[in-house]
Protein backbone atom coordinates (compact mmCIF):
# COMPACT_ATOMS: atom_id res chain seq x y z
CA UNK A 1 0.00 0.00 0.00
CA UNK A 2 2.85 2.38 0.87
CA UNK A 3 4.41 1.68 -2.54
CA UNK A 4 1.19 2.64 -4.33
CA UNK A 5 0.51 5.64 -2.08
CA UNK A 6 4.01 7.02 -2.65
CA UNK A 7 3.75 6.37 -6.41
CA UNK A 8 0.47 8.28 -6.52
CA UNK A 9 2.10 11.18 -4.61
CA UNK A 10 4.83 11.36 -7.30
CA UNK A 11 2.26 11.07 -10.10
CA UNK A 12 0.10 13.82 -8.58
CA UNK A 13 3.16 16.06 -8.24
CA UNK A 14 4.11 15.55 -11.90
CA UNK A 15 0.57 16.10 -13.17
CA UNK A 16 0.12 19.21 -11.02
CA UNK A 17 3.39 20.67 -12.37
CA UNK A 18 2.39 19.80 -15.95
CA UNK A 19 -1.08 21.29 -15.62
CA UNK A 20 0.51 24.53 -14.37
CA UNK A 21 3.17 24.76 -17.07
CA UNK A 22 1.56 22.76 -19.92
CA UNK A 23 5.06 22.39 -21.41
CA UNK A 24 4.82 18.76 -22.53
CA UNK A 25 1.07 18.79 -23.09
CA UNK A 26 1.07 21.68 -25.56
CA UNK A 27 4.14 20.45 -27.44
CA UNK A 28 2.99 16.87 -27.94
CA UNK A 29 -0.63 17.75 -28.72
CA UNK A 30 0.38 20.36 -31.28
CA UNK A 31 2.86 17.90 -32.81
CA UNK A 32 0.29 15.09 -33.15
CA UNK A 33 -2.35 17.36 -34.68
CA UNK A 34 0.11 18.91 -37.15
CA UNK A 35 1.33 15.45 -38.24
CA UNK A 36 -2.26 14.32 -38.86
CA UNK A 37 -2.99 17.48 -40.80
CA UNK A 38 0.12 17.17 -42.97
CA UNK A 39 -0.50 13.50 -43.72
CA UNK A 40 -4.10 14.28 -44.61
CA UNK A 41 -2.70 16.42 -47.45
CA UNK A 42 -0.38 13.60 -48.54
CA UNK A 43 -3.02 10.84 -48.41
CA UNK A 44 -6.23 12.42 -49.58
CA UNK A 45 -8.98 10.44 -47.82
CA UNK A 46 -11.43 11.56 -50.54
CA UNK A 47 -9.40 9.62 -53.13
CA UNK A 48 -11.48 6.52 -53.86
CA UNK A 49 -8.41 4.51 -54.89
CA UNK A 50 -7.03 4.64 -51.35
CA UNK A 51 -8.63 2.76 -48.47
CA UNK A 52 -7.93 4.95 -45.47
CA UNK A 53 -8.11 1.94 -43.13
CA UNK A 54 -5.01 0.47 -44.76
CA UNK A 55 -2.72 3.14 -43.41
CA UNK A 56 -4.74 4.77 -40.61
CA UNK A 57 -3.45 2.44 -37.90
CA UNK A 58 0.19 3.03 -38.83
CA UNK A 59 -0.26 6.74 -39.14
CA UNK A 60 -2.05 6.99 -35.82
CA UNK A 61 0.54 5.06 -33.80
CA UNK A 62 3.57 6.63 -35.42
CA UNK A 63 2.22 10.07 -34.61
CA UNK A 64 1.40 8.99 -31.04
CA UNK A 65 4.88 7.48 -30.58
CA UNK A 66 6.60 10.65 -31.86
CA UNK A 67 4.35 12.91 -29.78
CA UNK A 68 4.97 10.65 -26.79
CA UNK A 69 8.74 11.14 -27.06
CA UNK A 70 8.24 14.90 -26.69
CA UNK A 71 6.25 14.44 -23.50
CA UNK A 72 8.49 11.73 -22.07
CA UNK A 73 11.64 13.78 -22.58
CA UNK A 74 10.42 16.15 -19.88
CA UNK A 75 9.63 13.38 -17.41
CA UNK A 76 12.97 13.07 -15.60
CA UNK A 77 14.42 16.28 -17.05
CA UNK A 78 12.08 18.33 -14.86
CA UNK A 79 13.73 16.75 -11.81
CA UNK A 80 17.08 18.32 -12.72
CA UNK A 81 15.86 21.78 -11.82
CA UNK A 82 17.02 22.57 -8.26
CA UNK A 83 18.51 19.03 -7.98
CA UNK A 84 15.11 17.56 -7.14
CA UNK A 85 16.13 14.13 -8.43
CA UNK A 86 18.74 13.84 -5.65
CA UNK A 87 16.11 14.57 -3.02
CA UNK A 88 13.80 11.92 -4.45
CA UNK A 89 16.56 9.30 -4.71
CA UNK A 90 17.73 10.11 -1.16
CA UNK A 91 14.20 9.69 0.19
CA UNK A 92 13.06 6.32 1.59
CA UNK A 93 10.75 5.83 -1.39
CA UNK A 94 11.96 2.84 -3.41
CA UNK A 95 13.31 3.69 -6.88
CA UNK A 96 10.40 1.63 -8.23
CA UNK A 97 8.05 4.14 -6.58
CA UNK A 98 9.68 6.96 -8.46
CA UNK A 99 9.44 5.01 -11.72
CA UNK A 100 5.82 3.96 -11.25
CA UNK A 101 4.75 7.46 -10.17
CA UNK A 102 6.34 9.02 -13.21
CA UNK A 103 4.97 6.32 -15.51
CA UNK A 104 1.43 6.87 -14.18
CA UNK A 105 1.70 10.63 -14.74
CA UNK A 106 3.12 10.11 -18.24
CA UNK A 107 0.37 7.59 -19.03
CA UNK A 108 -2.35 10.07 -18.04
CA UNK A 109 -0.65 12.81 -20.03
CA UNK A 110 -0.24 10.70 -23.18
CA UNK A 111 -3.80 9.41 -22.94
CA UNK A 112 -5.10 12.99 -22.75
CA UNK A 113 -3.05 13.90 -25.83
CA UNK A 114 -4.22 10.78 -27.66
CA UNK A 115 -7.91 11.27 -26.89
CA UNK A 116 -7.90 14.83 -28.23
CA UNK A 117 -5.81 13.95 -31.29
CA UNK A 118 -7.87 10.82 -32.01
CA UNK A 119 -10.95 13.04 -32.28
CA UNK A 120 -9.07 15.26 -34.77
CA UNK A 121 -7.83 12.15 -36.59
CA UNK A 122 -11.32 10.68 -36.95
CA UNK A 123 -12.57 13.94 -38.50
CA UNK A 124 -9.63 14.36 -40.90
CA UNK A 125 -9.50 10.72 -42.02
CA UNK A 126 -13.15 9.78 -41.64
CA UNK A 127 -12.36 6.55 -39.77
CA UNK A 128 -15.01 4.47 -38.03
CA UNK A 129 -14.39 4.62 -34.30
CA UNK A 130 -17.80 3.78 -32.86
CA UNK A 131 -18.20 0.25 -34.21
CA UNK A 132 -15.20 -1.15 -32.28
CA UNK A 133 -14.78 1.60 -29.68
CA UNK A 134 -14.30 -0.79 -26.73
CA UNK A 135 -11.50 -2.68 -28.47
CA UNK A 136 -9.92 0.55 -29.72
CA UNK A 137 -9.84 1.88 -26.15
CA UNK A 138 -8.26 -1.36 -24.91
CA UNK A 139 -5.55 -1.30 -27.60
CA UNK A 140 -4.97 2.38 -26.87
CA UNK A 141 -4.51 1.71 -23.14
CA UNK A 142 -2.13 -1.21 -23.67
CA UNK A 143 0.00 0.51 -26.31
CA UNK A 144 0.11 3.81 -24.43
CA UNK A 145 1.35 1.95 -21.36
CA UNK A 146 4.02 0.26 -23.51
CA UNK A 147 5.20 3.65 -24.85
CA UNK A 148 5.07 5.09 -21.33
CA UNK A 149 7.04 2.31 -19.65
CA UNK A 150 9.83 2.24 -22.23
CA UNK A 151 9.89 6.03 -22.53
CA UNK A 152 9.98 6.62 -18.77
CA UNK A 153 12.77 4.08 -18.25
CA UNK A 154 14.90 5.62 -21.01
CA UNK A 155 14.03 9.11 -19.82
CA UNK A 156 15.70 8.15 -16.52
CA UNK A 157 18.66 6.63 -18.36
CA UNK A 158 19.25 9.69 -20.56
CA UNK A 159 18.44 12.39 -18.00
CA UNK A 160 22.06 13.40 -17.48
CA UNK A 161 23.05 13.30 -21.15
CA UNK A 162 23.55 16.55 -23.01
CA UNK A 163 21.85 15.14 -26.13
CA UNK A 164 18.93 13.57 -24.26
CA UNK A 165 16.28 14.98 -26.64
CA UNK A 166 17.98 13.05 -29.44
CA UNK A 167 19.00 10.00 -27.46
CA UNK A 168 15.56 9.24 -26.03
CA UNK A 169 13.83 8.50 -29.37
CA UNK A 170 16.92 6.69 -30.71
CA UNK A 171 16.88 4.32 -27.73
CA UNK A 172 13.12 4.07 -27.33
CA UNK A 173 11.80 3.26 -30.81
CA UNK A 174 13.79 0.05 -31.44
CA UNK A 175 12.45 -1.37 -28.17
CA UNK A 176 8.92 -0.28 -29.08
CA UNK A 177 8.82 -2.11 -32.43
CA UNK A 178 6.89 -5.20 -31.18
CA UNK A 179 4.32 -3.06 -29.33
CA UNK A 180 3.88 -0.60 -32.21
CA UNK A 181 3.62 -3.42 -34.74
CA UNK A 182 0.89 -5.10 -32.68
CA UNK A 183 -0.95 -1.82 -32.17
CA UNK A 184 -0.79 -0.89 -35.86
CA UNK A 185 -2.14 -4.27 -37.04
CA UNK A 186 -4.88 -4.36 -34.42
CA UNK A 187 -5.94 -0.76 -35.03
CA UNK A 188 -6.06 -1.31 -38.80
CA UNK A 189 -8.38 -4.30 -38.27
CA UNK A 190 -10.56 -2.38 -35.82
CA UNK A 191 -10.85 0.63 -38.15
CA UNK A 192 -11.87 -1.80 -40.90
CA UNK A 193 -14.68 -3.00 -38.63
CA UNK A 194 -13.10 -6.36 -37.74
CA UNK A 195 -13.27 -7.17 -34.02
CA UNK A 196 -10.50 -8.94 -32.12
CA UNK A 197 -10.87 -12.63 -32.87
CA UNK A 198 -8.77 -15.79 -32.95
CA UNK A 199 -6.98 -14.50 -36.07
CA UNK A 200 -5.57 -11.33 -34.56
CA UNK A 201 -5.76 -12.00 -30.78
CA UNK A 202 -2.07 -12.98 -30.85
CA UNK A 203 -1.20 -9.29 -31.26
CA UNK A 204 -3.27 -8.41 -28.21
CA UNK A 205 -1.35 -11.03 -26.26
CA UNK A 206 1.92 -9.54 -27.56
CA UNK A 207 0.86 -6.15 -26.18
CA UNK A 208 -0.11 -7.58 -22.78
CA UNK A 209 3.13 -9.57 -22.52
CA UNK A 210 5.19 -6.54 -23.59
CA UNK A 211 3.54 -4.37 -20.91
CA UNK A 212 4.00 -6.93 -18.14
CA UNK A 213 7.61 -7.82 -18.98
CA UNK A 214 8.89 -4.27 -19.43
CA UNK A 215 6.96 -2.91 -16.41
CA UNK A 216 8.55 -5.53 -14.16
CA UNK A 217 12.02 -5.07 -15.66
CA UNK A 218 11.82 -1.30 -15.28
CA UNK A 219 10.68 -1.41 -11.64
CA UNK A 220 13.43 -3.90 -10.76
CA UNK A 221 16.32 -2.23 -12.63
CA UNK A 222 15.51 1.46 -12.15
CA UNK A 223 17.74 1.54 -9.03
CA UNK A 224 20.78 0.75 -11.20
CA UNK A 225 19.78 3.48 -13.64
CA UNK A 226 19.31 6.13 -10.94
CA UNK A 227 22.14 5.32 -8.51
CA UNK A 228 24.50 3.20 -10.60
Amino acid sequence: MTFLRQSLAIAAKDLRSEIRTKEALNASLAFAVVIFLLFSFAFDPANLNIDVNDYAGGLLWLAFAFAGALALNRSFARELQNDCLDALVASPAAPGVLFLGKALANFALLLAVEIVSLAVFSVLYDVRLRAQLGWIVLVMFLTTWAITVIGTAFSALTVNLRMRELMLPILTYPFLIPALLAAILLTADLFAGKPISAGNAIWLRVLVAFDVIFSLLSVVFIDIVLVG
Binding site: K13, S17, R20, T21, N82, D86
Partner: protein
Protein backbone atom coordinates in the same frame (compact mmCIF):
# COMPACT_ATOMS: atom_id res chain seq x y z
CA UNK B 1 49.89 12.68 9.92
CA UNK B 2 47.17 11.99 12.45
CA UNK B 3 45.20 8.76 12.31
CA UNK B 4 42.18 9.16 10.08
CA UNK B 5 39.99 7.35 12.59
CA UNK B 6 38.63 8.29 15.93
CA UNK B 7 37.19 5.71 18.24
CA UNK B 8 33.54 5.04 18.40
CA UNK B 9 32.10 1.86 19.84
CA UNK B 10 29.88 0.01 17.34
CA UNK B 11 26.65 0.88 19.15
CA UNK B 12 27.59 4.58 19.24
CA UNK B 13 28.74 4.64 15.63
CA UNK B 14 26.37 6.66 13.45
CA UNK B 15 28.43 6.34 10.31
CA UNK B 16 31.07 3.84 9.32
CA UNK B 17 33.08 4.33 6.14
CA UNK B 18 35.42 1.46 5.33
CA UNK B 19 38.03 1.62 2.60
CA UNK B 20 35.97 3.72 0.22
CA UNK B 21 37.33 4.49 -3.23
CA UNK B 22 35.45 6.35 -5.93
CA UNK B 23 36.66 6.58 -9.52
CA UNK B 24 35.28 8.86 -12.21
CA UNK B 25 36.73 7.15 -15.26
CA UNK B 26 40.43 6.78 -14.40
CA UNK B 27 40.39 9.62 -11.89
CA UNK B 28 40.26 8.59 -8.23
CA UNK B 29 37.99 11.18 -6.56
CA UNK B 30 38.22 9.34 -3.23
CA UNK B 31 41.13 7.16 -2.14
CA UNK B 32 40.88 4.70 0.74
CA UNK B 33 38.57 6.71 2.98
CA UNK B 34 38.17 5.23 6.45
CA UNK B 35 36.01 7.12 8.89
CA UNK B 36 33.86 6.41 11.88
CA UNK B 37 31.53 9.07 13.16
CA UNK B 38 30.12 8.75 16.65
CA UNK B 39 26.44 9.37 17.28
CA UNK B 40 25.78 12.91 18.44
CA UNK B 41 28.86 14.45 16.86
CA UNK B 42 28.92 17.33 14.42
CA UNK B 43 31.58 16.82 11.78
CA UNK B 44 32.95 19.62 9.64
CA UNK B 45 34.20 18.16 6.37
CA UNK B 46 36.81 20.57 5.11
CA UNK B 47 38.92 20.73 2.00
CA UNK B 48 39.61 22.78 -1.07
CA UNK B 49 37.45 22.68 -4.21
CA UNK B 50 37.67 19.27 -5.89
CA UNK B 51 39.07 17.59 -2.77
CA UNK B 52 36.23 15.03 -2.75
CA UNK B 53 33.89 16.42 -0.08
CA UNK B 54 30.75 16.37 -2.22
CA UNK B 55 31.59 12.94 -3.63
CA UNK B 56 31.93 11.56 -0.10
CA UNK B 57 28.67 13.19 1.02
CA UNK B 58 26.84 11.79 -2.01
CA UNK B 59 28.08 8.31 -1.17
CA UNK B 60 27.05 8.73 2.49
CA UNK B 61 23.60 9.86 1.32
CA UNK B 62 23.23 6.82 -0.94
CA UNK B 63 23.12 9.00 -4.05
CA UNK B 64 26.22 7.37 -5.50
CA UNK B 65 27.85 3.99 -4.98
CA UNK B 66 31.51 3.67 -4.03
CA UNK B 67 33.71 1.93 -6.59
CA UNK B 68 35.20 -0.01 -3.69
CA UNK B 69 34.56 -0.12 0.04
CA UNK B 70 31.53 0.00 2.26
CA UNK B 71 29.41 2.62 3.99
CA UNK B 72 27.04 1.80 6.80
CA UNK B 73 24.71 4.06 8.72
CA UNK B 74 23.93 2.80 12.23
CA UNK B 75 25.15 -0.60 11.08
CA UNK B 76 22.86 -0.77 8.04
CA UNK B 77 23.47 -0.21 4.33
CA UNK B 78 23.09 3.44 3.29
CA UNK B 79 20.63 2.49 0.49
CA UNK B 80 18.25 0.60 2.77
CA UNK B 81 14.81 2.17 3.02
CA UNK B 82 14.90 2.23 6.84
CA UNK B 83 18.31 3.96 6.73
CA UNK B 84 17.23 6.63 4.28
CA UNK B 85 14.24 7.42 6.50
CA UNK B 86 16.73 8.58 9.18
CA UNK B 87 18.86 10.75 6.91
CA UNK B 88 18.29 14.38 5.95
CA UNK B 89 20.20 15.61 2.90
CA UNK B 90 20.80 19.19 1.83
CA UNK B 91 22.82 19.33 -1.37
CA UNK B 92 23.87 22.18 -3.60
CA UNK B 93 20.37 22.62 -5.00
CA UNK B 94 17.31 23.47 -2.91
CA UNK B 95 15.48 20.35 -4.19
CA UNK B 96 12.11 22.07 -4.40
CA UNK B 97 9.64 22.23 -7.27
CA UNK B 98 9.13 25.74 -8.61
CA UNK B 99 5.65 24.94 -9.93
CA UNK B 100 4.37 23.67 -6.58
CA UNK B 101 3.40 25.74 -3.57
CA UNK B 102 5.37 25.68 -0.31
CA UNK B 103 2.87 23.37 1.35
CA UNK B 104 2.65 21.09 -1.71
CA UNK B 105 6.43 20.69 -1.71
CA UNK B 106 6.57 19.79 1.97
CA UNK B 107 3.56 17.46 1.73
CA UNK B 108 5.19 15.54 -1.12
CA UNK B 109 8.33 14.86 0.94
CA UNK B 110 6.31 14.23 4.13
CA UNK B 111 4.44 11.48 2.26
CA UNK B 112 7.61 9.99 0.79
CA UNK B 113 9.20 9.89 4.27
CA UNK B 114 6.02 8.51 5.87
CA UNK B 115 5.73 11.43 8.29
CA UNK B 116 2.69 10.98 10.56
CA UNK B 117 0.09 13.75 10.19
CA UNK B 118 1.84 15.24 7.18
CA UNK B 119 -0.32 18.37 6.90
CA UNK B 120 0.15 19.29 10.57
CA UNK B 121 3.90 18.66 10.44
CA UNK B 122 4.32 20.61 7.19
CA UNK B 123 2.40 23.56 8.64
CA UNK B 124 4.61 23.42 11.75
CA UNK B 125 7.75 23.57 9.64
CA UNK B 126 6.39 26.47 7.58
CA UNK B 127 5.71 28.34 10.80
CA UNK B 128 9.19 27.60 12.18
CA UNK B 129 10.83 28.87 9.02
CA UNK B 130 8.59 31.95 8.87
CA UNK B 131 6.87 30.86 5.67
CA UNK B 132 3.37 30.24 7.02
CA UNK B 133 2.09 33.44 5.41
CA UNK B 134 3.11 32.18 1.96
CA UNK B 135 1.93 28.60 2.58
CA UNK B 136 0.02 28.39 -0.72
CA UNK B 137 2.35 30.56 -2.79
CA UNK B 138 4.26 28.97 -5.65
CA UNK B 139 7.97 28.48 -5.00
CA UNK B 140 8.85 30.17 -8.31
CA UNK B 141 7.44 33.41 -6.86
CA UNK B 142 9.59 33.20 -3.70
CA UNK B 143 12.67 35.28 -3.01
CA UNK B 144 16.00 33.46 -2.77
CA UNK B 145 15.97 33.63 1.02
CA UNK B 146 12.46 32.18 1.23
CA UNK B 147 13.41 29.31 -1.07
CA UNK B 148 16.42 28.54 1.12
CA UNK B 149 14.32 28.52 4.28
CA UNK B 150 11.84 26.19 2.61
CA UNK B 151 14.74 23.91 1.65
CA UNK B 152 15.81 23.85 5.31
CA UNK B 153 12.21 23.02 6.32
CA UNK B 154 12.23 20.11 3.84
CA UNK B 155 15.47 18.68 5.27
CA UNK B 156 14.23 18.75 8.88
CA UNK B 157 10.63 17.73 8.07
CA UNK B 158 11.06 14.09 9.13
CA UNK B 159 13.29 14.71 12.19
CA UNK B 160 16.38 12.99 10.75
CA UNK B 161 18.97 11.38 13.07
CA UNK B 162 21.75 12.00 10.58
CA UNK B 163 22.13 15.21 8.61
CA UNK B 164 24.33 15.39 5.54
CA UNK B 165 24.78 18.99 4.50
CA UNK B 166 26.80 20.12 1.50
CA UNK B 167 27.86 23.75 1.84
CA UNK B 168 24.79 24.53 3.98
CA UNK B 169 25.69 28.15 4.70
CA UNK B 170 26.68 29.13 1.17
CA UNK B 171 24.39 31.82 -0.25
CA UNK B 172 22.02 31.71 2.73
CA UNK B 173 20.65 35.02 3.95
CA UNK B 174 20.87 35.97 7.64
CA UNK B 175 17.39 34.73 8.45
CA UNK B 176 17.96 31.39 6.76
CA UNK B 177 21.28 31.00 8.64
CA UNK B 178 19.48 31.69 11.93
CA UNK B 179 16.81 29.09 11.09
CA UNK B 180 19.45 26.53 10.12
CA UNK B 181 21.47 27.23 13.30
CA UNK B 182 18.43 26.76 15.53
CA UNK B 183 17.46 23.49 13.82
CA UNK B 184 21.03 22.16 13.95
CA UNK B 185 21.17 23.00 17.64
CA UNK B 186 17.92 21.12 18.17
CA UNK B 187 19.24 18.10 16.26
CA UNK B 188 22.38 18.17 18.41
CA UNK B 189 20.28 18.30 21.61
CA UNK B 190 18.29 15.28 20.42
CA UNK B 191 21.55 13.36 19.96
CA UNK B 192 21.50 13.60 16.17
CA UNK B 193 24.64 13.47 14.05
CA UNK B 194 25.64 16.11 11.53
CA UNK B 195 28.20 15.87 8.73
CA UNK B 196 28.63 19.08 6.77
CA UNK B 197 31.04 20.10 4.09
CA UNK B 198 31.89 23.75 3.98
CA UNK B 199 34.33 26.45 2.95
CA UNK B 200 33.12 28.73 5.71
CA UNK B 201 35.66 27.66 8.28
CA UNK B 202 34.66 30.00 11.10
CA UNK B 203 30.98 29.02 10.89
CA UNK B 204 31.77 25.31 10.64
CA UNK B 205 34.37 25.20 13.38
CA UNK B 206 32.08 26.93 15.84
CA UNK B 207 29.45 24.22 15.34
CA UNK B 208 31.73 21.21 14.92
CA UNK B 209 32.75 18.72 17.56
CA UNK B 210 35.02 16.95 15.05
CA UNK B 211 36.89 17.98 11.94
CA UNK B 212 37.87 16.02 8.83
CA UNK B 213 40.23 17.55 6.29
CA UNK B 214 40.19 15.96 2.83
CA UNK B 215 42.94 16.55 0.32
CA UNK B 216 42.98 15.09 -3.18
CA UNK B 217 40.51 12.40 -2.19
CA UNK B 218 42.35 11.34 0.97
CA UNK B 219 41.84 12.15 4.63
CA UNK B 220 44.67 14.40 5.77
CA UNK B 221 43.29 14.94 9.26
CA UNK B 222 40.41 13.55 11.28
CA UNK B 223 39.87 14.24 14.94
CA UNK B 224 38.25 16.40 17.56
CA UNK B 225 38.02 20.10 17.06
CA UNK B 226 40.82 21.86 18.91
CA UNK B 227 41.12 25.28 20.41
CA UNK B 228 43.90 26.14 17.92
CA UNK B 229 41.39 25.75 15.11
CA UNK B 230 39.07 28.31 16.66
CA UNK B 231 41.87 30.72 17.53
CA UNK B 232 43.32 30.59 14.03
CA UNK B 233 41.11 29.22 11.25
CA UNK B 234 44.12 28.80 8.94
CA UNK B 235 45.94 26.59 11.45
CA UNK B 236 44.45 23.32 10.21
CA UNK B 237 45.40 23.91 6.56
CA UNK B 238 48.88 25.12 7.53
CA UNK B 239 49.52 22.16 9.81
CA UNK B 240 47.94 19.31 7.87
CA UNK B 241 47.39 20.74 4.41
CA UNK B 242 49.66 20.69 1.37
CA UNK B 243 50.60 24.32 1.81
Amino acid sequence: MESPLWSATPSRCALDVEGVWKYYGDFPALREINLQVATGSTVALLGRNGAGKTTLLRILAGLSKPTQGKVSVKGADARQESTRRRIGVLGHGIALYDELSAIENLLLFARLYGVPQPVKRSDEMLERTGLDRVRDGLVREFSRGMRQRLAVARVFLHDPDLLLLDEPFTALDDRAIAVLHSMLAETHRRGGTVVMSTHQLREALELATHVVLIQRGQIAFAGERRQEMLDDVGWLYRTYGDN
